[in-house]
């Protein structure tokens, strides 16, 4: 049963990634693209979790953890760039 749940989850997240891609390419504003990229990071974390469950292995948590920790840095850096140009001032 969990297996089915995982497959369902995978399917959902695959679809989600596809939708993110659409927004990433469509824009229109650069903010939309950044948002899409940020959402991809979140969905990727979810996928990594599912892979962990599917493989009954805990050795992928670090990846998820790291993404949760530093994944947003890119996003804020992009925004800071748009706001200030100089991201470290």
């Amino acid at each position: 049963m969990i297996g089915y749940a995982v497959i369902f989850g995978m399917a959902c997240l695959a679809l989600a990634l596809g939708l993110n891609l659409w927004r990433l390419l469509k824009g229109p504003s650069i903010g939309d693209r950044i948002l899409a990229m940020d959402t991809m990071v979140i969905n990727t974390i979810a996928i990594i979790l599912l892979i962990g469950i599917a493989n009954e292995s805990g050795s992928f948590f670090e990846a998820a953890l790291l993404l949760a920790m530093v994944g947003f840095v890119g996003t804020v850096a992009y925004c800071k760039f748009l706001l200030r140009g100089d991201i470290i001032e």
Binding site: M10, A11, L13, A14, L15, L17, G18, L21, L24, L25, I30, R33, I34, M37, M40, V41, T44, I47, I48, I51, S59, F60, E62, A63, L65, L66, L67, M69, V70, G71, V73, G74, V76, A77, Y78, K80, F81, L82, L83, R84, G85, D86, I87, I88, E89
Partner: protein, 950 residues
């Protein structure tokens, strides 16, 4: 003195003298010439001392091994031929040195002059005494070099520089051809020892390579001895000071070619090919040279062409491949050396004392400079071959031998042409003497100036002329034995009885030479008309031709080099990838085999397919939106994310971690750079170029992708990593095999890797430290933000969250580090995580705020890290283990429980420090210049605002 020692001393003396002179330097003229003279004199003495035994038939050879691998020995030998030439080189050398001492003006660079002269003398001696052809080649090239220096002695004169370069180009080039010929000869003969080669005529002449060898060697000789069509350099070498001409262009350098012909006579001569080529070249040169000489006006030019003609005569004689011809050649070598050197010196005297060398401005000088006149006239007579002088005998013999030769099946050809040439040479010889010393002076000024020089200057030519006279009067007594033995040496077997004398009774030869004399007189008489007649004749100026040839080559090559080599990165990269494409296709086709291997694949999940689509489309988007740099960055980070996901999917947690953290840092770096770079500059590439690049790109992608496919569908070939898996825990003390590989199995790689990163940090620092100066500084000061920006620099939410994040992320970093040896993580990843934690502070709270709170400088971090890693590695040596060997053990403490201590972890500390230091150094430095730029800009804005308000 023992002959072997004599030989070495002979060859080394001049070089030692040259060194001495150079060492003394300055303008101690007397000292310079003194040393040179002493050197030559000592050499001459040695030769004389050895002469008896050598002429007596003894042969002496000495050898020191040098480079056995190529059969090069420092071996010298002396036989009559060598003896004669050595005598000439040293004897005339001595006279030239004396002459030169008086000839050179005060304040001329006598050190350079005499040093080069001695260098040349040594090289010449080396040629004539070499017992190994490779050694001979070495000295051969040395003569080219030293003559280059001597001809260019008056470096301020353009014609001197050009003449020198021309001589070097022709003789040096000829020398290279000669190298080819000689090395081939040696290979065919099976040895580079001269004696062995001379003894192996049958082998050589039987070899299919013989024609090649012959032609190559002949080119070498002809260029050196100024044979047609390589003669043109010699007249322009007359830009040299007269002593140099007297030395190089009468007796020595130009005779080197003749010497080599004589030297190799036994092994090369005797074939039809040899006879035809050498004879005809000699014949043509002899005639052509004589003809031109008749119509030249510059004394030295006349002498130069006469030399060409006389050398042609010698070459022709050697070409006959007849014994007596060789004898004639040997005798004429002696004669020519004597009278030609004398003539050059007298020409120098005339030039020196009257101020001109133009024969059209001189005349009747006999009154003003009688001694010079006597010397010159006698020498000219010898050149003309008038009895009772030595020149007569040798020319007589020459003419006699011509009758023996039928060229191209025409028995009359050689005698007739030879007679014509003889006539011409009588003509120019008479003209030289007559127009110079007799008749009425053509111009008053030089005539008035002219007077005999001091004895120091005319002594040398006088001696030489005396020799020429005596050679005519007492040939047998003076030169009989010498000539006989030399000729014997040339031919390689003893001669039949030899009779040198002025009178051989009435024969063809006598008639021919009488015709020549008569014709010569006629030529002199009608010289004016002839001049007019030949004036219309076009005279191709060799110099102009040579120079336009060189200039043409220069422009051509330069055009090619410039168009192809003007640095163009696009061309470089394109070339590289094109080569790769070609190479891969070639390999695949030639190698054969199959594309798809037997290994069965893994099914792809929907997520995998979507991720794949994501990656491909994002890549396409990068290419498509290449101009919008910022947007492209977003796509890039998406690609990075997918790759991280792939690493997770394919059981590479460590790689996923690395990919994720490196990705973040890279993006920060690119953003920092992009801030100062154009955001969306117009694209450069034309559309055809895009198609071209696209084609290469697609090919490359196809090939590499194909290779990846081929690789992935094959079974692994029992990789060494099975050992790593088996020994990671037991031998490396860690369960994370990747980490154990990094810090233990292949720690040496990691050492290099962190050093690469450290260097990158240092290099970036060095690169950016200068940015605020120079044109970059100026550009930064006038730097304009291309888009308006928000005034808020530190958004409160961002700032505050990063403050709680810092300790949290740091603890995560510590965690990643500590468990790295057993679980995914490790020093590198930990370093990046910690670096990001601090970079967040830079991002949120700004550079100054964060920088003020930093504790350790990055340089120190890098240095410390490398040292820790190195010391950890070296620690093993104490325990008799190899560099980077590790140790680990498990300990148990009360309450704490069991834990592991591994030296590999210490190594990982080094990794951590270097990586952290390098990353922080790079980004801090980069953000710093951005900040400086922004500040400079801000300052300017404020200024303007202040202006506006006022």
């Amino acid at each position: 003195m023992a002959i072997p020692l004599t030989l070495y001393t002979l060859v080394l003396l001049p070089f030692v003298a040259a060194l001495l002179i150079a060492a003394i330097g300055g303008n101690a003229r007397v000292l310079h010439s003194g040393i040179a003279a002493a050197g030559s004199a000592m050499g001459l003495a040695l030769i004389v001392s050895a002469a008896g035994r050598v002429i007596g038939g003894e042969e002496f050879a000495v050898a020191i091994a040098w480079v056995p691998a190529i059969g090069l020995e420092f071996s010298l030998m002396i036989d009559p031929l060598g003896l004669m030439f050595a005598g000439l080189i040293l004897g005339i050398g001595l006279l030239v040195v004396i002459f030169g001492h008086f000839y050179l003006a005060e304040g001329e660079a006598t050190a350079r002059f005499f040093a080069s002269l001695m260098l040349f003398q040594g090289a010449m001696l080396g040629i004539v005494l070499a017992g190994n052809v490779l050694l001979l080649l070495i000295f051969w090239e040395l003569t080219s070099l030293s003559s280059f220096l001597l001809i260019g002695f008056w470096r301020h004169k353009a014609e001197a520089r050009q003449g020198a370069r021309m001589a070097l180009a022709v003789t040096g080039g000829g020398g290279l051809v000669l190298i080819a010929g000689m090395v081939l000869l040696g290979i065919v003969a099976g040895s580079f020892d001269l004696m062995t080669i001379l003894a192996s005529a049958d082998v050589v002449q039987a070899s299919p390579l013989y024609p090649v060898i012959l032609i190559l060697i002949l080119i070498g000789c002809f260029t050196k001895s100024a044979q047609f069509p390589f003669h043109f350099w010699l007249p322009h070498a007359m830009a040299a000071p007269t002593p140099v001409s007297a030395y190089l262009h009468s007796a020595t350098m130009v005779k080197a070619g003749v010497f080599l012909l004589a030297r190799l006579w036994p092994v090369l001569s005797g074939t039809d090919l040899y006879t035809v080529i050498v004879t005809s070249v000699g014949l043509v040169t002899m005639t052509f040279g004589a003809f031109v000489a008749l119509f030249r006006h510059d004394l030295k030019s006349i002498l130069a062409y006469s030399t060409i003609s006389q050398l042609g005569l010698l070459v022709m004689l050697l070409g006959f491949s007849i014994k007596m011809a060789a004898v004639a050649a040997v005798l004429h070598i002696l004669n020519h050396a004597a009278f030609k050197a004398a003539l050059f010196m007298t020409a120098g005297i005339v030039d020196h004392e009257s101020g001109t060398r133009d024969i059209r401005r001189l005349g009747g000088l006999a009154k003003m400079m009688p001694i010079t006149a006597i010397i010159a006239t006698t020498a000219a007579a010898a050149m003309a071959g008038l009895p009772p002088l030595g020149g007569f005998i040798s020319k007589e013999m020459m003419l006699y031998e011509t009758l023996e030769i039928s060229l191209f099946g025409l028995p009359w050809l050689v005698p007739v042409v030879a007679t014509i040439a003889a006539t011409l040479s009588v003509g120019y010889s008479l003209r030289l003497a007559w127009h110079l010393f007799f008749g009425s002076p053509r111009e008053p000024e030089p005539y008035a100036r002219a007077h005999d020089p001091g004895v120091g200057m005319w002594a040398s030519p006088a001696v030489l002329v005396l020799l020429a006279v005596l050679l005519g009067l007492f040939p047998m007594l003076l030169a009989g034995t010498l000539v006989a033995s030399v000729a014997g040496a040339v031919i390689g077997e003893p001669l039949p009885t030899l009779d040198l004398s002025l009178w051989h009774g009435v024969n063809w030869a006598l008639g021919m030479s009488m015709m020549a004399v008569a014709g010569g007189v006629l030529l002199l008489w009608r010289h004016k008309d002839l001049l007019l007649a030949t004036a219309s004749l076009l005279r191709p100026d060799a110099k102009a031709m040579f120079q336009s040839l060189m200039a043409g080559a220069d422009t051509l090559v330069r055009k090619f080099i410039v168009t192809t080599h003007t640095p163009s990165l696009q061309r470089m990269v394109f070339a590289t990838f094109s080569v790769v494409v070609v190479v891969v296709i070639e390999g695949a086709i030639t190698g054969g085999g199959i594309l798809t291997g037997p290994r069965e694949g893994l099914p792809a999940s929907p997520v995998a397919i979507v991720a794949w689509l994501l990656l491909i489309i994002a890549t396409a988007a990068v290419v498509n939106d290449e101009r919008h740099r910022f947007r492209v960055l977003v796509y890039i980070s998406v690609i990075g994310l997918i790759i991280a996901l792939a690493f997770v999917q394919f059981s590479a947690p460590d790689l996923a971690l690395t990919q994720i953290s490196v990705e973040v840092v890279t993006i920060l770096l690119l953003l920092l750079a992009l801030n100062l770079l154009p955001k969306a500059p117009p694209l450069l590439s034309s559309s055809p170029r895009k198609w071209r690049d696209g084609a290469v790109a697609c090919l490359g992608g196809l090939l590499v992708g194909g290779a990846a496919w081929a690789m992935l569908t094959r079974e692994p070939n029992d990789p060494i990593s099975s050992y790593h898996l088996a020994n990671s825990y037991s031998g490396g003390g860690g369960t994370n095999v990747v980490n154990v590989t990094l810090v233990d199995f292949r720690a040496f790689d990691t050492l290099g890797e962190i050093i690469v990163l450290g260097i990158a940090g240092l290099a970036i620092f060095a690169l950016l430290d200068t940015t605020s100066r120079g044109s970059a500084g100026a550009r930064l000061r006038t730097w304009q933000q291309d888009v308006p920006h928000s005034p808020e620099s530190h958004p409160i939410m961002f700032v505050m969250s990063t403050r709680i994040l810092l300790p949290l992320v740091l603890s995560a970093g510590i965690y990643m580090f500590l468990r790295g040896h057993n679980q995914p993580g490790g020093g590198f990843i930990a370093a990046l995580v910690v670096a990001i934690a601090f970079l967040l502070q830079y991002l949120a709270s700004g550079f100054d705020w964060t920088d003020a709170r930093r504790r350790i400088g990055e340089h120190t971090m890098i240095a410390f890290g490398v040292l820790v890693a190195m010391v950890t590695g070296l620690g093993a040596l104490i325990f008799d283990a190899n560099f980077l060997a590790t140790a680990f053990d498990y300990f148990t403490l009360p309450l704490i429980g069991e834990f592991e201590l591994a030296t590999a972890v210490l190594f990982d500390v080094g990794v951590f420090c270097v990586v952290f230091g390098a990353v922080m150094l790079a980004l801090a430095q980069l953000s710093h210049i951005a900040q400086r730029a922004a500040r400079a800009h801000q300052a300017q804005l404020d200024e303007e605002k202040a202006e506006g308000s006022r």
